[in-house]
Point group: C2
Chain length 282, copies 2
Amino acid sequence: MNTVVVIGIGLIGGSLALSLRQQGLATRFVGVEANPENARRALELGLVDRIETDLPAAVAAADLVIVAVPMDAMLAVLPQVLDAATARQVVVDVGSTKGQLLAAVADHPNRGRFVAIHPMAGTEYSGPEAAVQHLFAGKTLVVCDAHRSDPDAVQTVENLFRALPMRLLYLDAADHDLHAAYVSHISHITSFALALTVLEKEKEEQRIFDLASGGFESTVRLAKSSPAMWVPIFRQNRTNVLDVLDEHLRQLQELRRLLADEDYDGLRNSIEQANHIRKIIS
Amino acid sequence: MNTVVVIGIGLIGGSLALSLRQQGLATRFVGVEANPENARRALELGLVDRIETDLPAAVAAADLVIVAVPMDAMLAVLPQVLDAATARQVVVDVGSTKGQLLAAVADHPNRGRFVAIHPMAGTEYSGPEAAVQHLFAGKTLVVCDAHRSDPDAVQTVENLFRALPMRLLYLDAADHDLHAAYVSHISHITSFALALTVLEKEKEEQRIFDLASGGFESTVRLAKSSPAMWVPIFRQNRTNVLDVLDEHLRQLQELRRLLADEDYDGLRNSIEQANHIRKIIS
């Protein structure tokens, strides 16, 4: 692999560039970035070697194109990238939802060059400063609807991402979006709501700061996440997110009922059930 | 300080023993532990030098007594400790709720020897194996109703805990319980509910394991917490927890309404509000 073009040099795009470079998997990194300040910072931080403003020219020079823009921009940018792609390029998105995106490019003549992937890793920060080198090592890469991509394109993606190293998991787009709602999107909703709760109830911010311990920070840290990234995700995965959110509201209301009724045996049983998460999350 | 007696050698009691010893703040550590297996492990792990089974004898030999049992046991054990205390001892609890406990000992003849404290630190683990040395360094210690304690007892506690080092914050019991509901107890409720949601929706545990990233683990890790510790906390702080939980349910329902109505500007505004937590939690 010679030249990787990263479109959108933020947390995920920037971290992928750093990781691929560090593993020696590509030699030249070119950035395409709509925000001039982010483009300047990405260069300064060495995430990419140069910035290209002409999208078709950037794609033409690429071996691999990584599209790492928010999901609303993704719906516009990915078709433009595929328009410019030839049999020489492999194109990946790194988006958090897949259904709408894959439907949008289903009939594109270059659909085969595109491999839909979702690296299951991130932080609550965004932009080029948020890029870190070891974000993906040991994590899962979901590959969606791989049968819709050319076998050589899938092979290229498998080789690159296994070398980071990541574990590959193959799902269809509908399954991906459902599971992503459970294990990622709902955590962000609850964290936003928890931050709003505490900010509403605790008018003295200094008091929160003084008292907040690791447990609170842990549950609320995702509430720092960017609306520019998350609103389009919730929008594109709305049905699944609403479904999981309704189940979460039911669970919270049941815990509330047990406490309101002073049913402490019931509360203990529910917490013991919740403790089963220990078997899954080490 | 010569001899510290720790009653209940779990996460908090054990970690305090380790921290006080490491800072050279006391030389002998005696444990009182109702669970024989935990007593054996606490000795093996070097959390305490010996186990004493007779509570009054343990207190008589102590300079400082740390009562670190779950809040239901605390209501029974603290009065027994104060019964055995003299003007020579300082007694602290490390409980997560204060109102009911302080009311229970308000008229005890040795009330002055007791200083109510709450170190704002912990993990989702429990028992002697969970004890770690640096749990408290840099964290806040809440001292409750300090005016009800003898000045020399407060001074002793201030000197010891500032040396760990911890920041001291003085609150009355009612304020403590209200703030603790906001910045600690609600986080546990939401995490238990989130674990129950995912366990209910995701019947394939392997899939959760494969897909769960740092964000999910962060919001759900408190769901590993012990019901033996948390049911008595929720019980003793029931009114505050219900109040904060109702606000949290309102916030979640409002986010749900915005998404159901496809009011994406409203959703963006709410997330921007939630982002204000950045000012408080670094």
